[in-house]
Amino acid sequence: MKASSLTLGRVSNFLGFGFFTTLRNVFTGNLEKEDLKKFLRKVIVPLASIFLFILIWHIGAKTLFGIEAKFKIEKALEDQGQAAADALTACIASGESSCQPNTLPSPAQVWESFQSLLRDHHIISADKEAFIEKTAALNKTRIAAGKDAIVYTGRPSFVDQIFRSLQTVFAGFFLALLIAVPLGILIGLSSTLKSAFNWFIQIFKPVSPVVWYLLVFMIVKTVLIGSTEDSSFTISFISVGLCSMWATLVNTAMGVSTVDKDYINVAKVLKLGTFQKIFKVVLPSSLPLIFTGLKITLSVAWMVLIAIELLAQSPGLGLFVWEEFQNGANDSNAKIIVAMFAIGIIGFLLDRLMLTIQNWVSFDKQDAI
């Protein structure tokens, strides 16, 4: 029992959820004075700040709502007279959705939208299942006859969009990994290649995601000419990959070119061949830096993804945000805020995931930042 809880504590510390250990101590009653201080700092303070954040948000939203409502009523009074203004005041006070001022949604509205998005997801997935069940028999005969199966083409739910975004980001991330790590190793090993690629890295590194998207679009459009497939996913994941690979490229090159001289001496004294030297000495010793690069790459990929999905019209959170913005329904703003939180929380989790992997591969076990 003790061993297992110890590991649990370690795992949660590892993931940056150290406060769980403290929280457990609170419930199991092993609380000492030190722990109490820690509990205050690690649990109470964050909770209080979250509460404060929501409070400020609520007051801010309320104020903005007031300004917008006042403006609307005054406008109605000016344009249509007293009766219309009174009707509008009554309508706003009743909470009728058609006449609500359109502004920053309050926390309660966002929570409401979040739940409605979840409900929507349940409805859509039920719909999807029913569709698959219905078409199962038909699809069998179609496939047997050599025709394409009928697939569900309904609207994706919010949760589907999240998964779609994750797919895009991971496809882009692996593309970045496949390009940047080998290239970084080569550049790090050879100073000739380094000077050959240096201008390239320096010039392309600061290019913005939007421009990357356009560049990839130009190329992919021509490469896939004549194809009827939807290329938006391809374009967006390639753009994400190219946009985010630079951190890994630079870090890998640096890691490989700055291997501790002692390790190189060991390789020389043992007379390791070039391959052995690279795989047994150079790569393991630069792994921590490579993973630092990959961590930055993943977070950059997630950040630019939204912009690129939006441009590429590729399904995902970016497109969701854009469509909600264009939609302008009375709960659109709240849905955008829900998406914002989803993006933020997933970004945080991805970062933690990479940090965990990074800690796991780094041999000196100094806490990676």
Partner: protein, 281 residues
């Protein structure tokens, strides 16, 4: 013919105006089976000398001959124990040693590598720590792994670059004994670089002080004619030990004094007169 011979070695880093001379006029002969210690101050070019012998560096002029052949690059025939252990931190003790075995005997299969590695790890009594990572070991244990790794290549000569420099006195004494035991078993040729005169006398047949740089060169050699196996406590009372020790220390102290005197001479004071800022009215 000497086993290892250094002929008129001159070594400098850089070129032209920025050239720094490290070693000059180094001549040394080591016979087969001999245990030679080179004693010197820190920063006197000891590591450079070691790297010339093991082949990590090349002399600017002069030649290093090993078994009569000029040294070109590193070789499995000369095992090196580095000052800072230089273990690969991501490999366990066993993997670190196996790496050397594999490098020296590439044609054998895995079970042979494992057996050989286990043998050398046992030799430095680290079998209980065989699956540990270097960071889980103490300094002395790490250096023992480095010893096992160097021996695992079955070198004809062992070159030790201040191997015990970073260890505490007790661990140091233990390791000295272990290294001597291993050396006495098959009498390989050994070269020890150290900054500790007592360690040199305890372990070596011959001690050569390194006259410190910028143009470091080897001083006169001192023979140690103490019976082996040597005993530390007995040794302290032996006349021969005392005279050798005093002679070496005197030599090194003289160098130190000369250096200080040199340093003193070089300070040229500007001719300044004290001036008072208090104005007399």
């Amino acid at each position: 013919m000497a086993y290892l011979e250094l002929k008129n070695i001159y070594k400098s880093y850089g070129k032209g105006d920025s050239e720094t001379q490290v070693l000059s006029n180094i001549n040394l002969k080591i016979e087969e089976g001999e245990f030679v210690a080179i004693v010197g101050f820190t920063g006197s070019g000891k590591t450079t000398l070691v790297n010339l012998i093991n082949g990590l560096l090349e002399p600017t002029s002069g030649s290093v001959l090993f078994k009569g052949e000029p040294v070109k690059g590193t070789s499995h025939e000369r095992g090196v124990i580095f000052q800072n252990y230089s273990l690969l931190p991501w490999l366990t003790v066993e993997q670190n040693v196996i790496m050397a075995v594999k490098a020296a005997f590439p044609k054998r299969d895995k079970s042979v590598w494992k057996r050989k590695a286990a043998y050398y790890i046992e030799m430095v009594s680290l079998t209980p720590a065989i699956n540990k990572l270097p960071k889980e070991l103490s300094g002395g244990m790490r250096q023992r792994v480095a010893v096992a790794r160097a021996l695992a290549m079955k070198p004809d000569m062992i070159i030790m670059d201040e191997p015990l420099g970073a260890l505490d006195a007790l661990t140091r004494g233990n390791l000295q004994d272990q290294i001597l035991n291993i050396w006495e078993k098959d009498k390989r040729t050994a070269l020890l670089i150290t900054n500790d005169v007592d360690e040199g006398i305890y372990m070596a047949d011959r001690i050569i002080p390194l006259h410190p740089g910028p143009n470091a060169t080897l001083g006169p050699e001192f023979k140690v004619d103490l019976e082996r196996p040597r005993d530390k406590t007995e040794m302290n009372d032996s006349e021969s030990f005392k005279t050798t020790r005093n002679a070496i220390i005197e030599y090194l102290m003289d160098i130190g004094d000369a250096r200080k005197a040199e340093a003193k001479q070089q300070i040229i004071l500007p001719e300044l007169e004290p001036k008072s800022f208090v104005s007399y009215s």
